[in-house]
Amino acid sequence: MKKESPLFWPAYLKGDILFVLDETLVPKQLKYVKVRNIDEAVAVICEMKTRAFGQFLVVLSTFLLEFNRQPQLNGEELLEKIRNVAHALNHSRPTFPFSEVTSVVVHWAHGALDAGQDVRAIVIKNVNGYLQGIRHRRLDRVAKIAANIKDGDSVLTHCNVSGELAMAAAICREQKKDVQFYCTETRPYFQGAKLTYWELKQMGADVTLVADNAIATLMADKMVNKVIVGSDRNCANGDFANKIGTYQIAVLANEFKVPMLVLTQPSQKIKSGADIPVEIRDESELLQFNGRKVFSSKVKGLYPGFDVVPHHYVRKEIAIDVH
């Protein structure tokens, strides 16, 4: 693959500092925030400086970061450290299944200690191997996305899928497919306007920005023939959680017979969407923009961060290989 979006792998560890792309500043700046410890890792997640795949990268890298910071800890102390780090990360944002990842790391450390092995060496080796594996699997999925986009397609997307759609668009371009993309603004953080529009443009795609409220007109007038969105959490029955706004896109796609394709990370940990806790974020994030009030009179605000979409709205899952 010729090009890689900065959003595809938005964090890297160098010594005892984790550099995390501040996605709230893209595209104005490609600035990496320095994360030095677990508290700062939790902060970049909670403040949404990183999101989607970036969060998982931060979660896994934070274990390595804490290892690098404290080379003197013995096996038992490392296990305790890993448990504490896992606990803090698991409780940073409720909708995300961080525990599915952190529990694996705890399991590795526990196993190494029980077997009398070097906990530090085993965990570092496994985390790095895991990350490498994820990288290859995501690149495989990029190819799958491109294969699902046909010549002449007009694709609506929402929020941002961490570089994968943009890189698929680049493949489509190489394959001389004529493809049009529409991306929603994605209030209140504008990830669609700031990230998706920008990275699709960077890849040379034909992309048009629309307000979140323009999606019905796009579908009713057949201006799009496919919807592709990501997912933040997946259930055994195929239900999924994704950025707020995804549910209404799904309902409309069903109404106007536009097939909806979802990028998934298959998981059997939770049965259905009813079991997914939806994070309600602070109303100030909705009622202020860049520190300035949107309404001069007194109002209340409601900001659910995610929608849960029932599986029957999904035409096709483009899954990452988890085996």
């Binding site: 595209p27 306007a193 700031k194 409220n213 323009a214 019905a216 549910y247 949107v294 409601l302 659910p304």
Partner: protein, 186 residues
Amino acid sequence: MSTEIKNVTLIYGAFKEDFFTALKKCQVKDIVVLEGRPTLESSRHAVLNLKKIGIIPTIIADNMAGYLFSKGLVKETWLASQAEDKAGAMCEIGALILAVLAKNHQIPVFTYAAEKKRKPLGKPADLQKFNGQSVVTGKIKAFVPLIEWVPAKYLRSLRKNAGRKAISPRLLRRPNELLAIGGANE
């Protein structure tokens, strides 16, 4: 934070002032207002008029209505219509989303006259700013419809001539015709 909201009336668009008088008479209290991108004009209009009748509304972004419907929190939806006939109503962009959601959840949708007409199309620059501040810089390609047609099958009641017939509804039912009227949109 109003996470306990339930049984709300969802209102969308810039309604004539007497709509708010009617809300007061009907003792409607729990009202949710959508932002109404790109200008936010309709939500500001609603907030001011609701304040006059002593109601503090809950604001949601335009992509959050589905959440309320999926949780069973909406009891009725009102759309400001600029023009109506037996076939449907011309409303502010976003109205069709609410109408389809409402149909899907068996929630009634009503129309009431809009306070004023809207032009059919905005400019890409309208999406570059939010609340007067920059969201994205540089030239962008954007499609910015400001009104859309809501077919009668989604609406509970249509009152003939309730909205202002600012522009012929016949011409405005399809976005491609809007594009033809508004010209190129980049």
